[in-house]
Each structure stands twice: as C-alpha cells, then as structure tokens.
Amino acid sequence: MGANAFGQNVTRREDLRLLTGRGSYTADQIPPGSAHAVMLRSPHAHATIISVDIDAALAVPGVLAVITGPDIEAAGLGTIAAGSPLAKFLGTPADQDFAFRPPHPLLATATVRFVGDPVAMVVAESEVIAIDAAELIVIDYDVRPGVTSTLASSEPGAIAVWPEAPDNRCFRWQAGDETAVDAAFTKAARVVKLDVVNNRIHVASMENRGAVGFHDAASESYTLLTGTQMPHGLRDELAVDIFRIPPERIRVRVADVGGSFGIKNAMYPEQALVLFAARKLGRPVTWIGGRSDSFVSDYQARDNITTGELALDADGHFLGLRVRTVASIGAYLAPKGQLSPTTNTPVLAGVYRLPCIHVAVDGVFSNTAPTEVYRGAGRPESVYLLERLVDQAAHELGMAPWDLRARNLLAPDAWPYRTALGLIYDSGDFPGILEAAMKQADVAGFEARKVVSEAKGMLRGIGMAQYCERVAGSWSEAAWMEMKPDGRVRVMSSAMSNGQGHETAFAQLVSAQLGIDADFIEIIQGDTARTPFGHGTGGSASLGIAGAAISAAGNTLVQKAIPLAADALEAAEVDVTFAAGRFVVAGTDRTVGWEAVAARMEADGLAADGFYKPSNPTFPNGCHFAEVEIDPDTGEWRIDRYTMVHDFGRALNPMLLEGQMQGGVAQGIGQALCERVVHDESGQVLSGSFMDYQIPRADDLPTLELIQRPTPSPANPLGVKGCGEAGAAGGSPVVMNALFDALWRRGVRKIDMPATPERVWMALLR
C-alpha cells in the first residue's frame, strides 16, 4: 500500500496502452457492418440556401442516405440547446435574461451562418464513397455579407447574424455593485485602464471528434459511442432536446478520449445525426471527423475584448475594479456558450482585497464557429485581465509588480472572506505563496540576468501572475464500488477521463483508503449503462467531487465489511474499527485484513455507493513568474525561466499534478505566444490547418519548475483543490507581463495576445 499512499508519485496505468499505440479511441471501435458518414459544410460565412440537389449523390453506388435539414425537421427531431441559464450573482438584475437564443439545428435549413456550418450528412458503405458523393451535392447559395470580428459585430450598423437580434446581441449581463464601483472611482487617487484582447482559440485536441451511432429497433433504444467529458449530460440532451424520449433509452459509451479541454463537453450535431442515421438505415453509422472538420466545426474558445479599470488610492491600495467585456458567442449560442464570459467572472476578485467589482458583458453573435468552454472556461480570461491590469498599474505607478501585489494581498487571517462578487474564500496563504515564488524565481537576480541579456543585444523582462481560481463546487457526483470474493474491487465513476489519468488517480485513492493493492482495483468510467447518473469531467473537479464520492463509497464499503470482519475476529461489530487497511478489535492488537472479509462474502460480494455534494467551491491558487528574452531585430522572443508555486490543497499524486500543470501552462503560453483563429473579410478561416494555426511545440516551452505549498481545502473530505485548469490561467498573463516588462522599458505601451514576432517587432518600431 505504501507505493499507493496519498501523496505518492504513482505512474500512470493508462500510459502503457496510450503511449504504445494501443489506446482504443472512437475510431478504433468502428463495428463490423457500420456505414460511414461524412459531413458537407457551408463554404460561406453567411448565405441563404436557395436549393440543395442531392440526386447525383444518391445515385452513387454504395450511397445509403443523404440527410439534409428538412429531413431532420420532418422526422420531428429537436435542436441543440441554445445556452443554459445565465448565472446570477450579487448585482445581477433578477430579471436579467438572454436577448435572443437562436435555434441551433443539427443541419442548416434556410441559412448558413459560419464556414463549417453543417448542411448535409452523406452515409455510404465506405467513407470514400461518401466523400465522392458529397462532392456531387449541388447547393445553390445566395452569399450574403457577414461579420466575423468581435468588435465589428458589436458596433452599430453591423451585419446582423440573426434578424431576431439586429444588434447581434445575445445577452447583456452584469454582476457586482456598480454604484459602489462608481463611488470608488470618484474618490480614487489613480485610475489605471487597460484594453485587452483575449484571442479566439481553436482547441486542437489530438484526437479529432467522432461518433458511432447504434439503434435497436426492438427496444427502440440508441447507443452512442463518442468522445465526451460528460456522458450523462450528453445522454440527457440527446434524449430531451433531440429525440424527445426518456433518457434511459439512450446509452452513451466513451472509449479512450484523446484530449478535450472543454470542446468535447457539449453536444455536436454529428452525435445526434449518427443515431438518426442508424435508426433510418437499421445499421450502425460511423462519423470520424478529419482535422479539416475540426478546424472549422469544433467549438472554439475565448474571443473577448475587455476593458478593465482599476481604482487605487494614493498608497496603491485597490479600491475597485470595473470590467466591460464584449464576448463572441459565434453564430449559434452553444450549449454552454454563455458560461465562460459570465459564470466564472467571480475569479476577477483574484488574491486581493478588492472592495467592489462591477462587470458587464455583452455576448455578441458573429459569423464564426460557436464558442464554448475551454480549459478554465472564463477563469483564465478573468485572471488574464486582472493580472495584466495589476502589472500595468505597477508600471504606471513606478512600483515593482510584486510590491504592488503584496500591498493588496488577502492574508489567511481574513478567512472566511467574502469577495465583492460573492465567493467565500476559506483557505490559502497568498502572501506566503508570493514570498516563496519570489524566492524560487530569484527575483533578486533579475537585474544581473538582464545585464547579461543586454550584452547579447537582447531585451529581458520579468513578469508575474498570482491568482485564485474557483472550482469543484458546482455539482454533485456519485460513485459505485463492488468487492468480489476474490478480493478485487471495481469502482464505477461518472467522471470521464480525457487523458487526465483517472484510472491511476482513482485506483490510488481507493488503494490508499482501503489498503488494497491498486492492481486489484478496476476503474470503470464512460458508460451510462453502468453508472446511472452523474455529471462528468470538468472544472478541475474530478478528484474534489468524483473522488470524494468514491471515497464516500469506500467508507460505506468498510461499514458493510465490518460485520464480516467482526465474525472473523470473533468480536462484536461495535468493537471493530478500520485503520491502515486492517480491521481491528478496538483496544487490542487483534486484526484481520480484507482477505478475511472476502472469505466470508456471499458470491455476489459487497456493494456500496457514495455521493458527494460540495458545500463550497475550492480555491486553487498560485503564483507564476516568468522571464523572457526578446530579439529586438526580429521580434522573436522566448521564455527563459518559468517558475510556479501552487496551493492545490493535498496532492494525491504530485506527478500527475505536475503533468496537469505542464499541459495547462503550455496551453496558456500557446495563447500568449501564437494561437489565434483568423478570418478574412469574407469569413473564410485563414488558420484552417496546422500550416497556419500554430500550437506551441515542445521547443517553444521552457522548463517549468513547480513547487507546492498546500493548504488543505476545508470544502471536501480529501482536502484537494483541483489542478486541471490553473496552468492555463497563469500561463498567459505571466508571459505577457514578462514581455510587457521588457517592452515597457523601450516605450511600448500596448501588446496583445498572441504576441507574434511580427507584433513584437511592430511594437518596438513605434
């Protein structure tokens, strides 16, 4: 058990399979006899469909069906959910609601609204036949002008994506105390203002999307095999929104998932269409998207234009924060499309004593792919704005960024602390984290390193970002546990790994709790038939919520085992306790292990379930420091040092945690360095392949040094906080702050993400 104790670096049991090409993803599980589907998508950003001629495609030998929007309407299928309810916080008007929630059909019927909008699905005996046939579909489009820029779509006179929303407004949302903020700004000695662009991201999961649909006519039930984070949510959406049948008639199965980061969270048209096609054809139907499908039709992310204003008193104390954001929704409001710019904005409070905050967000439509949650889902956007604004303030005040922060940090003696947007901070040591981070980053040695850089003709900058997330508090989760007479334990969880390592982490958790070797613990996930309900993976919550539910199931299993252990010990049940993997007669040295319990089980063993509903979110927090070197001749820059100190509460497996940080930081750096979706004026996607859409490569990334400085979370029994998204929150602002620090000394006053070499060169030119 020692090797699997809480806090040990257990290697990932998934890795042999995943790293040697033996993972089994959706595309590896195409059933015999499956038909194959391809999607025909709009090549235009905005057009009216005059006619769709599918006759030539249907005539191709081997073509089984061509499904268009009218077929879906005629079959009485519903539409994809247009968003979910707007969050309400302090200061959110009670009657605040969407201005317009557009219908989101599985296939466009009258109008296409972004390049990639699906128009038809062709199903054939093979994928090649389907592609051949799709080329023969003739669609007569009346091409209309569109709008793709977030700023342009929000301006008066912009082309309307939806006639029902002539100003392109999907919602206007606000939170916080506007009056108090106005008053704070009135009395402020200094106001610092910053405009930032949070660039549109194509998430680029390694595994493209895919779906296999099955239909059983006898039971009138469906099975969908697909990559998703949330099998149960997908099942319910398919049942309620699309097929209008009881959820128990849909089973969602999930194989290995090659990355999601939010994009395989909400439903996509293809997931419903393969089920519909399977029903129509009486055989399984497979759709495996290609990389080109991904680039135009995966939900995209971020894409905000934000103005932040920070009011300070004469001593540099923060008095108030005002935030105005225009958030791109895309052409349709995706199922969680409103979440990132609204629900997670309370993270704007950061690590500071910030007496009042007011945030107002306009969600606007444009002729672009819908936006969805992406690693952090609004928290990285809020952290980016706040931490760049604080650095901007430090530069304008002539203060060191760490000194300005130190002056405003909340200290542990403030807990519980109610932030201006209503969160209740319960743990953490922000000043201690800052102090440790400054030491680890060797802030004192920066000036000397700058001299060395300058001797090489390079500019050098240092930046920091300190933040506090809010995760793992929004839903409940259940778990089911069985022990068989052979002593093997099976754990079923509704959380769904997309690469995070649930099999390893959950087995380690149970092993540590029950004292059973992890090799005897099987982790089952990704099948709604085996786990009747659940939420799924998201929001850095798998350990804090799903893990806590598993732990609760483990406790129940122990309670159910005690009578058997008591029998083995020939003791009264009330005298038997469980500790360190053994059942003990209290006050004696008489113990038995699980083998004694197993030997006394009925044939079907013991079963236990567990449930956990958090009472408060957790607050993972940390401080990142980075130093960058810029080549002023070319604008190229690289990250030379990157250090972080983190408080993720108790760490179950520090190695997995570090892996999560590396991935998150890489995505944060990617957004700062290079990633952006670009459209031309007609709405065509100019970044439609990896030839033009740059994700960071290994050699773009520095060595990432991580130190943990945990304070246990009081919000869950495991004391964990959640580390899945924190890296993405810290990665973008810290490197941009470091870059800006170097540029500031050369007179540059504005730089946005992604800070491409050209942009840095242009900034230095002016």
Partner: protein, 263 residues
Amino acid sequence: MYDFAYEKPTAIAAALATLKSHADSKALAGGQTFIPVLKQRLNKPSVVVDLAKLGLAGINVTPNAVVIGAMTTHGAVGGSAEVNKAIPALAHLASMIGDWQVRHRGTIGGSLANNDPSACYPAAVLALGATITTDRRTILADDYFQGMFTTALEEGELVTSISFPIPERAAYMKFRNPASRYAMVGVFVAKLPAGVRVAITGASQGGVFRHAQMERALSANFAASAIADVTTPADGLNSDIHASAEYRAHLIGVMAKRAVEAA
C-alpha cells in the same frame, strides 16, 4: 484522395514513357507536398509514377562540386559528412527542412521541381549557381526558377541531379514561419570565385530571387557591415497572417547580415 493508377518503374526511359503517354500523369518523388495535396483531393492524377527505383539517389563530392542525385533525401544531405565538409551551409539547410519525418522522405529533386516559394533548397541552388541536370539537358540556376511553383522544366521532364559549385564561404539563415516552419524569409549567401551571390526564399510573391544590391555590396566587402544600410523594398513581397511584406523586407536584411556573419 481520388483513385489513380500507380507505377514504380526501374528505368528513366520507362518513367518518361509513362508520364508522356497519360494525360494528367504525375511524378512522385518524396511526396511531402504531393501526398498531402492528393489527400486533400486537390489533384486528380491519372497515373502516379514513383521515381524511387530509378537509381537517382546519391551524393558525389568532387574537388569542385557537390553533385546530389534528385531522389536524395534532405536527411541524407543534412547527415552527409562529405557535404558537411564541402558545403556546410548546404548540409545545414537540408538539416533544417521540415521535421525528421519530412527530411527522411522529402527529396531535393522533388523540392526543386515543385519550387514552393517558401522552400529552402531554391535559395541554395540559386545562391551557389548550381546546375540542374534533367533527363534531357542541363539548366543553370539563373534560368531554372521562373516564379512561384514555376520552373524551366518541360512537361514530363525529370530532374536527375544537381551540381553545386563549392564556394569559398557560404551560410543560410532561415526565419521560420512560426506555424509551418517553412522559410518565412530564408537568405543564402555564397562567396564564389566570381563574386558573391545572395538568394532569398520565402519572401517574394515570385518565389526565390537574387538580391542584386546586397551582392554588389558584399562582393566589394564580404562583411555584415557592408549591407547594414541596404534596404529591401516591400513591393512584391508576400503578406499573410504571419508576416506583412514590410516585416519580411526587414527580416531579409536581418537574416542576410546573420548569414554573412555565419559564413
């Protein structure tokens, strides 16, 4: 990709005959551009003639020249001790093309026949004043490159080898497109007995070109300082989401100076 016939002849005459006898036939060298094009259904050849068995791979270094067979991979050139000794800049260039996979499939002949405006090899061929030998003739570098994706090759004409004169000094500096890692601006500088030649790839709408002003300045004085004040007009340079024409014009100067310093 669309269906096509595939042939892998063992003699040049047979390859030429097949290419000639079929309309829309295409030759396949390393396939690092052509196969993605096929996969995207951007080309619909009748026959694909694979050149791999024609015996066109190999490197021969003489006292005056490095002769490289058309089907020699970038990996072979980059890893060749002889090339590294005779023209290190050429080996360096080859070793920086694409990634490992591309370098072990992609060939010099394929690159030159395609003449991608962002390819690296055209810069070396033009700057070194190489000679391109085909199945029927030899073509001087100055005559070979005729604009983006356009060369002096006739329909069905196959490159068989390239002969590079050995320079006194040479270097290649590439500013990589940050996404594709093709040359966004690549500058090959070569000091030859007849003078200095400077070829720029990646930057111009017309593909690889010689920089006459830099050549004059460097022929007079082969030092970075000699071209410090040479500017390149942005007219005619590529402009895309990664770099404006003005930025490319600027990078030509920076990369040229670095190449001279490295030569």
